[in-house]
């Protein structure tokens, strides 16, 4: 069941040539976590702020549970927002921060205290209730912000880059915690991030944004494995990019060879091929693939669990990523091998 629906949201800031958000439409089922993923300036935070009511769209609608909230001010939307800087009230204790939203709702003191304790328990900070934000670590502040947003039992939970202020070691743990918490309380959540790993690891749905538009909306697997546009293919994950020209449907002339691809534009079009490193395999003797290329290892990079082989092929330079111990992973620089990949793993976009 659709819980959040955005319809053609557009916002242009005075003095800028392009809209910050340009006709964003999407639907999110109840209880799902949507990641708005994109580079800085792609409009993801502005989109989040329009959902929260902190920014008014020029056109378009925000619909929550079939109710149009576009004209409602933020204080009447019942949305729990976790800001990038957490925005905890510095003059209040952790407990008072969490209680603030409940107080604004006129919830009686006894129930308020119970719900504050419950929210702080949820994030494991019961013992820190009496501390001011300045006496809490970054990770603890982040969890208080989360508790404060959840305590009001929001219709939507909105997170603006909640991990970016944490140091790298903490990030992964907090990421999994937020996801577990979100699933436990079943909050429909929108999460803004520029980090694709975060988006892929946490989200049920990923909206990849660029220049104010949603380039692709899909599950993490769809976005990663079947990028809809050239931008998505470039931004999410790594890929070898080879220039080519469509010869016939399903065949692209690339370098000195013809490469088979699942879907291609009309013959004659100049295109760019995207092939993900983990789709490229060394071929054992007697094995075959849709595309099989003679290759020579130019560089071998060992990163622990993965070995990257950068190879010269007739189609151009390709990188294969192999798990340690798989055949071919021990190939030395200069050695020759055959690389294979499936036609369906070759993404073709107009150049």
């Amino acid at each position: 069941m659709t819980h959040l629906r955005l319809e053609g949201l557009t916002r242009r800031f005075a003095g800028t040539p392009h809209p910050a958000v340009d006709g964003v439409s999407l639907e999110l089922p109840r209880g799902a976590l949507l990641a708005l993923l994109g580079p800085s300036g792609c409009g993801k935070t502005t989109t989040l702020r329009m959902i929260a009511g902190l920014e008014v769209p020029d056109t378009g609608r925000v619909v929550v549970a079939d109710r149009d909230v576009t004209a409602l001010p933020p204080h009447r939307r019942n949305m729990g927002v976790v800001f990038q800087s957490y925005a905890l009230f510095p003059h209040m204790t952790a407990a008072a921060n969490v209680a603030f939203g409940l107080e604004m709702r006129g919830i009686p003191r006894a129930e308020r205290q119970a719900r504050v304790a419950e929210a702080l328990d949820l994030v494991g900070l019961r013992d820190y209730a009496a501390r001011k934000p300045s006496k809490l670590s970054g990770g603890q502040q982040q969890r208080v912000a989360l508790a404060r947003a959840l305590a009001i039992r929001p219709d939507l939970l909105l997170l603006d880059e909640p991990l970016s202020a944490l140091d790298a070691k903490l990030r992964e743990g907090v990421r999994d915690e937020i996801r577990a918490l979100q699933q436990r309380v079943g909050a429909t959540t929108v999460f803004v991030t520029h980090d694709q790993t975060e988006a892929l690891a946490m989200a049920d749905l990923v909206a990849v944004m660029n220049e104010g538009r949603v380039e692709q909306l899909g599950t993490p697997e769809e976005v990663f494995e079947r990028p809809a546009t050239r931008f998505v293919a470039t931004f999410v994950g790594r890929a070898a990019r080879l220039p080519g020209k469509v010869e016939a449907p399903g065949v692209v002339h690339c370098g000195a060879v013809a490469v088979k691809a699942a879907a291609t534009p009309a013959p004659g079009a100049s295109v760019e091929l995207f092939i993900r490193p983990h789709h490229i395999r060394p071929l054992a003797e007697g094995h075959s693939a849709d595309n099989a290329l003679d290759a020579q290892v130019l560089r071998r990079t060992f990163t622990g669990d993965v070995v990257a082989l950068e190879c010269a092929t007739p189609a151009g330079t390709l990188t294969a990523e192999l798990h340690g111990g798989t055949p071919g992973a021990s190939a030395a620089v200069g050695s020759r091998l055959r690389l294979g990949f499936a036609a369906q793993d070759v993404r073709v976009f107009p150049a």
Partner: protein, 276 residues
């Protein structure tokens, strides 16, 4: 050593322009005024005894303190909405609006008072409006009395209050107010529960600065009081130049300086406890 050397010019200017005159003033305050009004060198606290023992001195002190406190409070209270407006304005307007708020400092105090005469005088703008609207038949006395001085002093202190509040509220993260709104707080609640408590140190600083400036204000009480308003600063002037009782003027000046020094110490202590 080199850092101390950098302070040298400031120390020299302070010594020549402040410490030396104050020392001179201190010396004069210990002199004696003879019966015929001439100053005689001496080392006596007699003048201080005379000044402190005079009820008029305490009336002046009370006048000065209430005038300064009232004007400082009004200036701070009026500066707050101005600064909140500047803060809410689009970033590219903020510089210009800030400049406008403190622009009165660029005009000489005397020129501003002449402006006030044209507005507040018996035939001034306000009385013309009131009479034109038929609200009054006689001019309302808005100048050459305490009302005039309060209005003028408030206006002359406002730019300083704005300056302090712009600096103080500039550090206040607007996300905090947004967070309050997303948690269900109306604009009023957000202001009372978040903005105001966080602005309190800046408001206190603005009040204390304008209070101190108000206590030592001379031009406004002199020119807008029309000779009917007596405060410590005008009295010092009168004692020195009208009565030519230098020891008394110096003693009163030393007492005012002492009071301001106490206020400064209190302010520092207050700020420290507020931060803790």
């Amino acid at each position: 050593m080199s850092a101390a050397l950098l302070l040298l010019p400031a120390v020299l200017i302070l010594a020549a322009g402040f410490l030396y005159p104050v020392a001179l003033l201190g010396r004069i305050s210990l002199n004696r005024t003879s019966d015929i009004g001439a100053m005689e060198p001496d080392l006596t606290l007699a003048t201080f005894e005379k000044v402190v023992g005079d009820d008029f001195t305490w009336e002046l002190a009370w006048n000065t303190a209430t005038l300064a406190a009232g004007s400082a409070l009004a200036a701070t209270a009026l500066a707050l909405p101005v600064v909140l407006l500047i803060r809410a304005a689009p970033p590219r307007w903020r510089g210009l609006l800030s400049l406008m708020a403190i622009a009165p400092l660029l005009v000489s105090g005397t020129a501003r008072i002449v402006g006030w005469l044209a507005i507040l005088g018996d035939q001034g703008l306000i009385n013309a409006m009131l009479e034109g609207l038929g609200l009054t038949s006689e001019p309302v006395r808005l100048i050459n009395n305490w009302t005039g001085v309060r209005i003028g002093l408030t206006e002359s202190l406002m730019p300083y209050a704005c300056l302090v509040l712009i600096a103080g509220l500039g550090r206040l993260d607007p996300r905090l107010e947004e967070a309050a709104a997303t948690l269900g707080a109306t604009r009023t609640k957000t202001f009372l529960r978040v903005t105001l408590p966080l602005a309190a140190p800046a408001l206190l600083a603005a009040f204390l600065l304008t209070f101190v400036l108000g206590v030592s204000a001379f031009i406004t009480p002199r020119l807008m009081g029309g000779g009917r308003v007596f405060v410590v600063a005008t009295e010092i002037f009168d004692l020195a130049l009208e009565t030519v009782d230098w020891p008394a003027a110096a003693a009163l000046a030393m007492l005012l300086l002492g009071a301001l020094a106490v206020a400064l110490v209190l302010r520092t202590a207050l700020m420290r406890s507020a931060r803790a």
